[in-house]
Amino acid sequence: MNGQDNPLLRAVDELTEFVKTPRPPHDLAWEMKRRKSGKKAYSWTIAATLLAGLALIGVRSLRERPRPAGTPVFPQFVVERLRVRGAAVRPEVMEVAGAGALVLVMPPLRGDVGPKHATPPATALLGGPIVLAQP
């Protein structure tokens, strides 16, 4: 029996004729198996994501941990006090704009200034990439 004597079923049949039958995917059996273990894989994914998130939070909290006031962000480039030729100096760093260099000026401390100390302030040129710390 078909829908030839019923206008509605006939219309449905005619329209159905124009629709291609979807073929089963080649990996249908695999899809089913994959789905079977899907819950397990899903749990592993959640666990791995959580671990990764925790690790990220840990790294960030270590990097952005509160520093004592005055602690420089790039301590490896900060020189607080030097002794040059037996005299204590307070170095100053000046950027040479556009040159990609810093000039390290080391004037003698106040107590070392005088006629007996005619040595000009020591200077050094630091080359390489410049990363200036935010004040």
């Binding site: 029996m1 078909n2 829908g3 019923n6 039958t21 089913m32």
Partner: protein, 216 residues
């Protein structure tokens, strides 16, 4: 090639406005291929090679017919049915034969899929209306086929215009897919008596639409 369907057909007399009480016994009959379907489902469960593909092929055509009757466009019916079957097979391990047959189960998934399709379609139409554009179907048919398809679609839309979505689903399940009242009730999550009531109203509405009279 059209697959021979096992559904029972509503006769013309039932579509006439004077149609009497619904002949529910006609839709109670089980599709003849059920025992084969059960065997196939069992074979898939055992992991028999090729069984899943055969089960897929045995259901695809039936679901396409149901999807088209539920109003899915012929351009997208294939995709909707493919998604339905993929979803069914992916969660095959959750399928409980004691609760519903495979056919009922796939029809339940199809009904959800078509509802989503209609919802997405409505949103797309609204968005296009706001942008001042209009939707164009990607036609893969020959010119004469386009005319035939358009005519059939017009008939389908005209006859089902007054059917509510629920009644349309009930009508499709029982009359197009050949599910029994009990199976339809299971697929749609309603009581059997409610299915009977919806079917009676659907038949009356279809008969009215077929008679060509204006709605009072």
């Amino acid at each position: 090639m059209r697959e021979v369907m096992t559904h029972t057909v509503l006769p013309d007399s039932a579509l006439s406005p004077t149609a009497s009480a619904p002949r529910c016994e006609s839709v109670e009959s089980r599709p003849s291929g059920d025992w084969r379907l059960e065997e196939l489902v069992e074979a898939v469960r055992r992991g028999a090679p090729g069984a899943a593909e055969e089960l897929w092929s045995s259901q695809a055509r039936r679901l396409i017919r149901a999807a088209v009757a539920l109003g899915v466009s012929i351009e997208e019916a294939e995709d909707v049915v493919q998604e339905t079957l993929l979803s069914a097979f992916r969660s095959f391990h959750r399928f409980d034969r004691s609760k519903a047959s495979f056919q009922v189960w796939t029809h339940r998934i199809l009904v959800n899929g078509t509802s989503n399709w209609h919802r997405a379609r409505r949103r797309l139409r609204m968005a296009l209306a706001q942008l001042g554009g209009q939707q164009r179907e990607a036609s893969f048919l020959l010119p004469d086929e386009v005319l035939a398809a358009q005519e059939a679609k017009r008939t389908l839309d005209r006859l089902t215009a007054d059917l509510s979505p629920v009644r349309r689903r009930v009508w499709v399940m029982t009359q197009v897919s050949g599910l029994s009242m009990r199976e339809t009730a299971e697929a749609l999550g309603m009581r059997e008596a409610t299915v009977r009531s919806h079917l009676r109203h659907a038949r009356a509405a279809l008969a009215h639409a077929a008679s060509g009279k204006e709605k009072p």
